[in-house]
């Protein structure tokens, strides 16, 4: 019988939540790496027992943990992310040049074809690759050395490369997103990169045709349609039908189009989920109600999903990597909140149940669908 494993990164450790295909009764394991920030954990689809975790703290910096047994045991691997060559400068918050400095790994993206290959999106923004399961890391320097690099500027959370999407139909194509530089695409396996931000509009950028500078919060893709991308920008929910060459807004009837997460149903490529957040000044859900919004039309028309979610006095946030979908027949949807709750829906969002209510603030949620 199928089962699921939900990997939860929090501000004070990691947790693994396991259930069978009914997704009703859950086993909670952890905390792993107690006391450390776990920005992200993700498993390989080639070998589901191979997991990577980004463990960090302001005191001791970055640690990379790897599990080869589905999260039961972990061992640290190499944590040396050295930028290639002389990294130069990007813009600081005040517009002055600031040297590139490694701070942490925001996102691991394991290869779709090789269990020992994994990509790491880091702050200050760069993309690294390991082909030996984390024993060594090499920067794909073509991204950082893109001519716009000196213009990149950090968002409020730092200048982080937080999204890495691999095209399952084209091993040479990858998408990444950086706050606040924007989205980029490679068509040659990471050697060269192209900004894909046409059509994005940001109040704080006077030039409507600016190639970079947009605060992209997250991007999602359905594997069966790798040319269709959905984006939650700082403000605005956007869609591209041409692999990011151009974008159009699909915020439609959302109560607010600020937010962080966005994800796509496992079996319905036009069904999209977001969690609107009140504003960039007030990072919590509007009206004290925690609601996931679902569009079955690829955007523009959104319905509020609130069954089982608190609809009164709720003021949590849901961060950019804190939503995931499983691949069971009735698609499961999961998300974690800044208040430490992890909610699950076994019916594609129609109803929700908390798996856990009192974890430390959730930074990331990923799910593995196991045979």
């Amino acid at each position: 019988m199928s089962s699921v494993r939900v990997l939860v990164g929090t501000r004070k450790g990691a947790f693994v939540l396991s259930s069978d295909g009914k997704r009703k009764d859950w086993k909670v394991s952890g905390p792993f790496f107690a006391g450390w920030e776990i920005y992200h954990m993700k498993g390989s689809t080639v070998d589901p027992n191979r997991l990577y975790a980004s463990q960090s703290s302001s005191w001791s910096g970055q640690v990379v943990q790897r599990s080869d047994d589905g999260g039961a045991t972990w061992n640290p691997v190499n944590n040396n992310f050295a930028y290639a060559g002389v990294p130069g400068t990007h813009q600081w918050y005040d517009g002055t040049p600031h040297p590139w400095e490694f701070k942490r790994v925001w996102h691991f993206e394991p290869s779709l074809t090789d269990a020992d290959t994994v990509f790491a999106g880091v702050e200050d923004a760069a993309l690294f690759k390991s082909t030996d399961a984390g024993a060594t890391w090499e920067e794909l320097k073509g991204l950082r050395e893109h001519g716009t690099g000196p213009q990149w500027q950090p968002g409020a959370g730092g200048m982080c490369l937080h999204t890495v999407i691999l095209d399952p139909s084209n091993a040479e194509r990858m998408y990444i997103a950086i706050s606040a530089a924007g989205a980029f695409r490679t068509d040659d396996g990471g050697k060269s990169w192209k900004p894909i931000n046409k059509g994005l509009k940001s109040q704080y950028i006077p030039d409507p045709n600016a190639e970079v500078g947009h605060c992209v919060h997250h991007v999602a893709m359905h594997g069966s349609r790798p040319n269709v991308l959905f984006m939650q920008k700082h403000w605005d929910v956007m869609r591209s039908d041409n692999a990011g060459d151009s974008w159009h807004e699909v915020s439609g009837n959302l109560p607010t189009d600020f937010g962080f997460v966005i994800d796509v149903h496992a079996h319905e490529p036009e069904t999209v989920f977001v969690v609107p957040i009140k504003s960039d000044a007030e990072h919590f859900v509007p009206e004290g109600k925690l609601r996931v919004f679902r569009s079955k039309t690829g955007g523009n028309e959104w319905e509020a999903l609130e069954k089982g979610l608190p609809q009164k006095d709720c003021y949590v946030n849901v961060l950019r990597d804190a939503m995931a979908v499983d691949r069971l027949d009735t698609c499961g949807v999961y998300f974690g909140t800044s208040g430490g709750q992890v909610y699950a829906s076994a019916d594609a969002g129609d109803s929700w149940t908390p798996i856990v209510r009192d974890l430390p603030g959730v930074l990331s949620v990923e799910v593995q669908t196991l045979a």
């Binding site: 302001s58 001791s60 970055q62 640290p76």
Partner: protein
């Protein structure tokens, strides 16, 4: 090299809780044999050779500089801002006093 063995000469190093956990060190201190002259750099070189997972957690990869929120104390004195190549007190070199590596009191 041995760890925590009674009567074994060597440098005593006390690590913060999170680094002991990371390196799976169960004793309060580790003992290291470090060739003279005993400096913070030499102690950390030996420490990281024995516990590779500690590389990058006390001092930066590449530059070798102390991480901003890590502190080094010896004989009740703050050595954090001394050169990593400065010779540590004789009491530390002789193993009578530990070299203390601490996380700064900052944040939550």
């Amino acid at each position: 090299m041995t760890e925590g063995g009674e009567g074994v000469a060597g440098i005593r190093v006390a690590l913060p809780y999170h680094l002991r956990t990371l390196a799976k060190i169960e004793s309060a201190e580790v003992r290291l044999e470090v060739a003279a002259p005993v400096t913070a750099k030499r102690v950390l070189d030996v420490l990281e050779a024995r516990y590779p997972m500690l590389a990058g957690t006390i001092r930066e990869h590449g530059t070798g500089q102390r991480r901003a929120y890590m502190r080094i104390f010896a004989c009740e004195e703050d050595w954090s801002h001394e050169s990593m190549d400065a010779e540590l007190p004789e009491a530390v070199a002789a193993g009578r006093e530990p070299l203390l590596i601490l996380g700064a009191i900052a944040g939550g």
